[in-house]
């Protein structure tokens, strides 16, 4: 079975890293590289290569750190810009709120004025209806009287004139 290092995989995690070390040590043992002069060469190279590998790892980590720092700086700048936007939008919202309050007040005043005008219109309409009724009645009376006067005999002209003058006086009084 192939050697691995690290824990067994769970879910979508990648499989564990392979571990070739046991095979390398087996081979080194078979070839006598773990005894005498071979061991000295083996250890010397192991130390030197380990230093290189670890130095490369540190370099990669440094590079990663530099990238993360750059990303962090970028995020900080973005957050500061977003905070500035939030502050500006807050101010804008306050201005709009005040404007809305003033508009609401003006709207209320307009509604009250509208209601007053509607009441006045209602009253004027009532008075107008009364006046029209009165005028209709007056015109009817005048028409009836004129028909009656027209039916008088010419010998009763004095009476006709008196009744016509009375009608004139009635109309004049109504026009005042």
């Amino acid at each position: 079975m192939k050697a691995t290092r690290g824990s067994a995989p769970t879910g979508p995690e990648p499989p564990p890293l392979p571990d070739p070390l046991p095979d390398i040590l087996d081979l080194a043992r078979q070839e006598g590289a773990l005894h005498g002069e071979g061991l000295a060469s083996f250890l010397e190279a192991l130390r030197a290569r380990a230093r290189l590998v670890l130095a490369e790892r540190v370099e990669r980590l440094d590079e990663r750190l530099r990238m993360l720092e750059a990303e962090l700086a970028w995020r900080r700048e973005s957050i500061a810009a977003l905070e500035e936007n939030v502050r500006a939008l807050g101010q804008q919202a306050e201005g709009l709120s005040e404007e809305l309050r003033k508009s609401s007040e003006a709207h209320g005043a307009l509604l009250a004025h509208h209601r007053e005008l509607a009441d006045e219109l209602s009253r004027a309409s009532g008075a107008h209806e009364t006046l029209i009724g009165h005028h209709r009645e007056l015109v009817d009376r005048v028409a009836t009287e004129l028909v009656s006067i027209a039916s008088l005999s010419p010998l009763r002209a004095r009476q006709a004139r008196r009744r016509l003058l009375a009608l004139a006086e009635l109309l004049r009084a109504d026009s005042r």
């Binding site: 990648p14 070739p20 081979l27 080194a28 190279a45 192991l46």
Partner: protein
């Protein structure tokens, strides 16, 4: 006759870009020539004109593809190339003139590449550092020994290539097979030479570069470990390399590294070490150490 071998895996556009320069350089070489495109995995969409196409049903990687091409080649010299290599017109002629009939396994040109630290991938030195072989690029203006001819472009005798057994499939699909082959050649006293006067341009691991970084890192470490396990014979150097791999197993926390190391040990158990013969590791390393 020179047989140019170009393994490719679906590299239609790379071949379209670079093949004309290969044909021009071969035509200027002063020798008869042929081009064999090894279609690894039959992934080519269009068959390039004017070349032999050797289709391989199963894609097994660079080394097996070159081996198949070498078997099929008609020439007595092999120009091994990648599909993302463009040759300058005089490159093949200069390499041909620099490859002697005996004593040299391969000649490699200046390889201009964006991957190169010194502007030329062609020259390599090697030394043991903290128990393991480490390879460095060496800039040069004159022909000099190089640790290995990079697999993207070199010229060698077909006979040497086949006598050495070609690339070892144990490294497939890629990385370290070219180092391994050249080391076996050095063991037999066959040098590799860097010839900067010949120039090629390498787009830069165009095929391998398409693989994920983890896969490349795993293959690199697998090949690196396999190279030591298969080739290092000096008891002291071998004990040192095992100590170094033990340090990696203990302290390296990168999965591709540990996977590669585990795979190397598995492959080595099946293949074993090579028989002891020829030049010692110390003698070989002395030939290619950077001054």
């Amino acid at each position: 006759m020179i047989s140019a071998l170009i393994p490719t895996r679906g590299g239609d556009s790379r071949l379209e870009r670079n093949l004309p320069s290969v044909v021009r350089a071969l035509a200027s070489s002063g020798d008869a020539w042929e081009v064999i495109v090894v279609d690894d995995g039959r992934e080519l969409r269009r068959e390039p004109q004017g070349v032999r196409v050797l289709p391989l049903a199963e894609a097994r990687g660079y080394g097996p593809a070159v081996n198949a091409g070498a078997q099929a080649a008609s020439g007595d010299r092999l120009l091994v190339l990648n599909d993302d290599v463009r040759l300058e017109e005089a490159a093949v002629r200069i390499l041909r003139e620099a490859l002697p009939p005996e004593g040299v396994f391969a000649v490699a040109p200046r390889i201009v590449s964006p991957l190169s630290r010194v502007g030329d991938e062609g020259g390599k030195s090697a030394s043991i550092r903290a128990g393991l072989l480490e390879i460095e690029e060496v800039a040069a203006s004159d022909t000099h020994p190089t640790f290995y001819p990079v697999g993207c472009c070199y010229l060698c005798h077909r006979r040497s290539f086949l006598e050495l057994g070609g690339y070892d499939d144990i490294y497939a699909p890629f990385f370290w097979e070219d180092v391994d082959l050249a080391y076996r050649a050095w063991r037999r006293g066959l040098a590799s030479l860097h010839v900067p006067a010949a120039v090629c341009h390498h787009e830069g691991s165009a095929t391998i570069g398409e693989r994920p970084m983890d896969e490349r890192q795993r293959a690199w470490h697998r090949g690196w470990a396999l190279f030591h396990l298969r080739n290092i014979q000096s008891p002291q150097l071998r004990a040192g390399s095992l100590g170094a791999w033990a340090a990696c197993a203990l302290f390296d926390d990168r999965r591709p590294v540990l996977d590669g190391l585990s795979e190397a040990l598995g492959r080595y158990r099946r293949a074993g070490a090579r028989p002891k013969a020829g030049a010692s590791d110390e003698e070989i390393l002395a030939r290619v150490r950077r001054e």
